[in-house]
Structures are given as structure tokens and as C-alpha cells.
Symmetry: C2
């Protein structure tokens, strides 16, 4: 169905049909000039992400439902990275004319699924036509008790540096998808080769936010001193924490968590594995620091790896390689403005 | 300066230099995964707008500073339309490569000026490259005491219908700007003819949000029963209020406030003046309903015009013309999805 048949309000009605809210702070959702929230106890966290077709996603190999899911997840991840819980999102869409109502329903199904799984209410947005490609802008509002909010700036000398999950897989998933896209060019019955690399594809197309880690830390009675989610690569994020905390750091190459599928793919495409893990980006794992006395508690947390420690600022930021060499950390993460795409 | 020389973080540093916050609810602004807000007394209002080059604005005649100012204002207007006060915004930008650092600074200067004048803190955002044109996504967070929040759904039979300012001028400003753009085609030293129509141009390029009306209503002790801002045209907005309030309405043609410049321009381009005033859009005036007993108080409010009254739903929504004819109101306002632009 053509979107113009429904018009803006018809489309919004259709996309938000049956939408129910689950959070007590959501007083009024879609349908007025503003959504109304009420929260008299915790701090409020606000984060926003803008995703543009051709820059952040390629619909040749990204299914719209996965794209919707991921668009929501990347915002939830920012709220967890403050030790908060995501509660509401607004979704703005710019839609070019090659998209049908069914396409946008697919996209929305992914967004709504993410909201359902993570207990988040969709409370508003904006819908308009776009002259080129799909534009997705999501803002997420989260909550956290004021004394539990974790910023980037609180890391202290001797704190332990921890990371959840494993790194570099989403980046390798992107390389794999791009490779198969190139291989498929002009072939009608092309079947992409993902066998044995399903994890990489999933990490790229359908990442999860680490709510589980935030809940485990809470149960263990640990409030990190600093925290970020890893969207631009471990190196880049760790440099942010050190800069904002006025600190240095040492991490150890042999402690960086890497999945075997990531290692195999790096081997196949002749890429340095540690470079991929340090700079790959889009992992949406949590990077955080805890006081030294949390050492035993952290060692017991499933899915968390201790990779190094914070130092005095004068020591700078470096990785110790397997042979004991110190290599300065550099931010080589994805820079969305460094290489502007050709204007279409 | 090329934006790629600065990169994302360099650009953000530059745009947010010297940024100070003025609201006590703003705990932590730009620079972490989320902004942190704290508000233990009032309700929280959230609204968002997505503006795309070629759909919502034409940089041939819209100066970037004005565009920034207007982008912020349209969000503030939504918060005032709930009887709230805007307090924070996040700004996401998609920037194509024809924009320099200086261009984006101009745009941001307009956003920051609007924030300064309206007492709003800029607390976050996202910045990325765009493959074509400029993308602006702004989310605004406002506050209002829970018992003062005004929705669209509260209009009651016999309530008075009021509107601030005058209508149709922004639409006529757009017609004027488009006419001069067409006239200028191919001419090197073209001077656009705006004499005697400065008000129309200003209404289109640099609208204001009606904080003054919200403050006057508050001083007069009036809480409207329903309210919206007029962004898509009076007809369309009034139909929203009546639908959500399960009500009908009668408005009077001779009560619709129209500036003389709007009337002259309508005459010049051979357009029905009332059609322009009812459906023009982008006025950002306030449309609201008050109980009948507020009649005298409303009559005394500067800048507010009483244009009709709410009826039982069975009577439908209509305008009474100067000769006493009843014409059903229809939503002919700007529909951003009805006619998708050609894909670029």
C-alpha cells in the first residue's frame, strides 16, 4: 500500500495500533503535542541517535525489522551505560517514496519488539517524507536513582577496567555482509555464505543491550566508578573515560575478550585481530571501571572480563602486548564525520 | 573549514563551546552517554520534530541561523501547547559534505539564540554525515505542574474557542519567498521584492513560540480545557481537538484574526484569504478552549481572539461565513506524507 493513501495520521494510527504502556512514569503516550511523563523519585536520562540510510545502514542486506530493533537497542544501550533503565522512546521517521506501508510496519515491528523485550514505552515521534532514503531518529528517556547514575568521569587510579561480552564481532559481521554483497552482484540466485559465522551476522544485525550486566552489577552491590557502552570501539571509549576522569590506563592484549568466529574471520580477510577488537565498533558491550576492592566480586560475574586498570594521568593510555611491549591507545574508531560520503 | 578536519568530537566541542545551563533540572548536559535531568515536582513533557532539507526547508532563501532558530522554536511551541515550559533540548544533525564548519556554526548560533531567549538548555544530540542535504532532529523536554497540563482532549460543550495572534501570514510568507525565488532564476543581481510584506517573511523565516500567551493565561488564572499549537492550519488542529474531546464546534469567519499584509498578498496571488488562514500552517499560534465563565477574562487578554465555541458532537465542526452559511471544516493542512517528493 502506498503511504500517501494513508497520510501521516493514518500511518501513525496504523503503526501505533494496540500500543500499550508498561511504565508507571508514562502518563500520556502518542496523540498530543507532547508525551507526558511523571517521575518524582529518580533522575531522568536522555539520549538520542540519528541513523541515515547509506551512512549507518545498507538495506541491501539489513532486514527492516532488524533495523528497527537495532535502532531502539542502540539507544537503550546508552541508558544502561549510565546505570539506568530505559523507559520511553520517541521515534521520528523520514520516509522516501520507495517505501510502502508494509515496509514501515516491518521497521516498526522491530522497534516495538525491542520495546516489549526491554520494557520500554513508545510515546511519540514525527513522521514525514524524505527526498532520499530512510531517516530514523530515536530519543530514549531512562531512569536511575540519583546516587546510582554512573558517568564517564569517575574513574580513579588503581580502579579495575572491565568489559562485558566479546569485542570485534559486529565489525567482522559487517565485513562479512559487505563481502557477500559484493560477491552477489549481478547473480540472480546467489546464496550468501554465512555457515560457521552466524554469530558475526547476528552481532551486526541484531545486537542486544546489556541489561543483564546492569542487573548483575546491581545484585552484586557494585556501582561502577565510570561506564560507557562500546559503540565506536574499545580504544576510543577508554580514551574518553580516561580524558574525562583525568586518568591514564593499562589494558592487556591477552585479556581482550574475542569470540573464535571473530578470530577466524580476521584470519580470512587478513586483518589484525586486536586492531579489529580495539577499534571495530558497534559491539554495544559495556566498558566500566570499579574500585580495586571489587576484584573478587567482579571475577565471579558471568560475562564480565577484567582487562586492565586505571593509572595516574601522567602514565598515559596504553595496551601491554603479549610480549610485554607498551603500545599507546589511539582512537581509530568509526568517525561519522571524517569521510563524508559523496553527495547523491 | 572542512568538517572532516575537526571530526565529530571536534565539531561538537566547537558548537558547544561556552555552553551554560540555566535550569535547575539540568544536572548534566552534553558529554556523556545521556544527559541527566532531575525533576521531582512537575510532570515532564516530551516532543520531537524531524526537519529535512528539500521537504521542510529550502536553503536558497532560508538563512541557516534562521533555520536553527525556527527548528528550536517549533519544539518549544509544542511544549507551550501543553501549558508547559520548555527546559531542555537535544539536537541531532545529519550534515552533507557541501556544509562547512562555519555553516553549521551559523545553524547552531540560531539554535543557541532560541535557547537563550526561551531559557532552554541544550543538553545533547548526535552528529553524523548525511549523503544528501541537511537533517535536523530536535527533541524538547518541558515541565508543567501535573494539575496544569492541558491536553487536546478536554474541550466541553459551550467552551469558548480562542486563538492567539493572526493566521495565514507564515503561509503567505512562503508563497512570497517561492515567488521571488522563481523570479530570481538565472539573474545575477536579483533583489527580491519584500517591501510592505516584511511581516510575512518574518512569520515564515523567524516565528516565535507564544510563551507570552501562556504567561498571560497563568496570570489571569485561566487553565484552558484543551490546547494545541497551530502548525498544520487552524482547521486541521480544531478537528483534532474536537475528535479527541468528542465534541463539535462553530467558528465565525468574521472573527478569524488576519493581518492586512496577509490579505494583500492573498489578493495579489488570487487566493481565497479564509482558505489561507484556515489551512496555511506554520503559524505556531495557540488554539485553545476555555469554559464559558472565562469570557470576560479572555476578552481582556491582549493578543487573544475569541473565534467561536464548542458544541455537542452531533452538530459536527463548521464555520459560519459572513453571510450566515455553515461550511463544514475540513483538514486541508499540510500533509507531509500525502505527496512524497521525487527521490533524489
Amino acid at each position: 500500500m502506498e503511504i500517501s493513501e494513508l497520510g501521516e495520521f493514518g500511518l501513525i494510527d496504523r503503526l501505533t495500533k494496540g500500543l500499550q504502556t508498561v511504565n508507571s512514569s508514562t502518563i500520556k503516550s502518542v496523540g498530543d503535542d507532547c508525551a507526558i511523563l511523571r517521575n518524582h523519585e529518580t533522575d531522568i536520562l536522555v539520549t538520542t541517535d540519528l541513523l541515515l540510510e547509506g551512512v549507518h545502514f545498507d538495506l541491501t542486506y539489513v532486514p527492516l525489522k532488524h533495523l528497527g530493533y537495532k535502532s531502539a537497542i542502540v539507544n537503550f544501550s546508552d541508558v544502561y551505560a549510565m546505570n539506568g533503565r530505559p523507559k520511553q522512546i520517541t521515534v521520528s521517521l523520514g520516509i522516501s517514496k520507495r517505501f510502502t506501508v508494509e515496509h514501515i510496519e516491518e521497521l516498526f515491528a522491530g522497534i516495538r519488539l525491542a520495546c516489549e523485550i526491554y520494557g520500554v514505552d513508545l510515546v511519540g515521534g514525527d513522521t514525514t517524507s524524505s527526498r532520499q532514503g530512510l531517516v530514523i531518529s530515536i530519543t530514549c528517556i531512562g531512569e536511575a536513582p540519583a546516587d546510582k547514575v554512573v558517568r564517564r568521569s569517575g574513574a580513579k587510579d588503581t580502579d579495575l577496567i572491565c568489559v562485558s561480552g566479546d569485542l570485534g564481532a559486529a565489525y567482522m559481521g559487517l565485513q562479512l555482509l559487505e563481502r557477500e554483497k559484493t560477491a552477489s552482484a549481478g547473480q540472480r540466485d546467489f546464496v550468501p555464505q554465512f555457515q560457521g559465522k552466524e554469530y558475526l551476522v547476528e552481532r551486526q544485525l541484531k545486537p542486544e543491550a546489556r541489561r543483564d550486566i546492569i542487573e548483575e552489577l546491581d545484585k552484586a552491590g557494585i556501582v561502577p566508578t565510570a561506564m560507557m557502552d562500546i559503540s565506536d570501539g574499545l580504544s576510543s571509549e577508554l580514551l574518553h573515560i580516561c580524558k574525562q576522569s583525568d586518568a591514564g590506563c593499562r589494558i592487556y592484549e591477552d585479556r581482550i575478550p574475542i569470540d573464535y568466529q571473530t578470530a577466524i574471520m580476521a584470519e580470512e580477510i587478513g586483518m589484525n585481530l586486536i586492531t579489529a577488537a580495539l577499534n571495530g565498533g558497534e559491539d554495544y558491550e559495556l566498558l566500566f571501571t570499579v574500585p580495586l576492592h571489587c576484584h573478587e566480586k567482579i571475577e565471579k560475574l558471568p560475562g564480565v572480563k577484567l582487562i586492565g586498570h586505571i593509572t595516574k594521568p601522567s602514565l598515559g593510555c596504553a595496551m601491554i602486548t603479549r610480549d610485554g611491549t607498551e603500545i599507546p591507545l589511539r582512537a581509530q574508531g568509526w568517525n561519522p564525520l571524517a569521510k563524508p560520503e559523496k553527495e547523491g
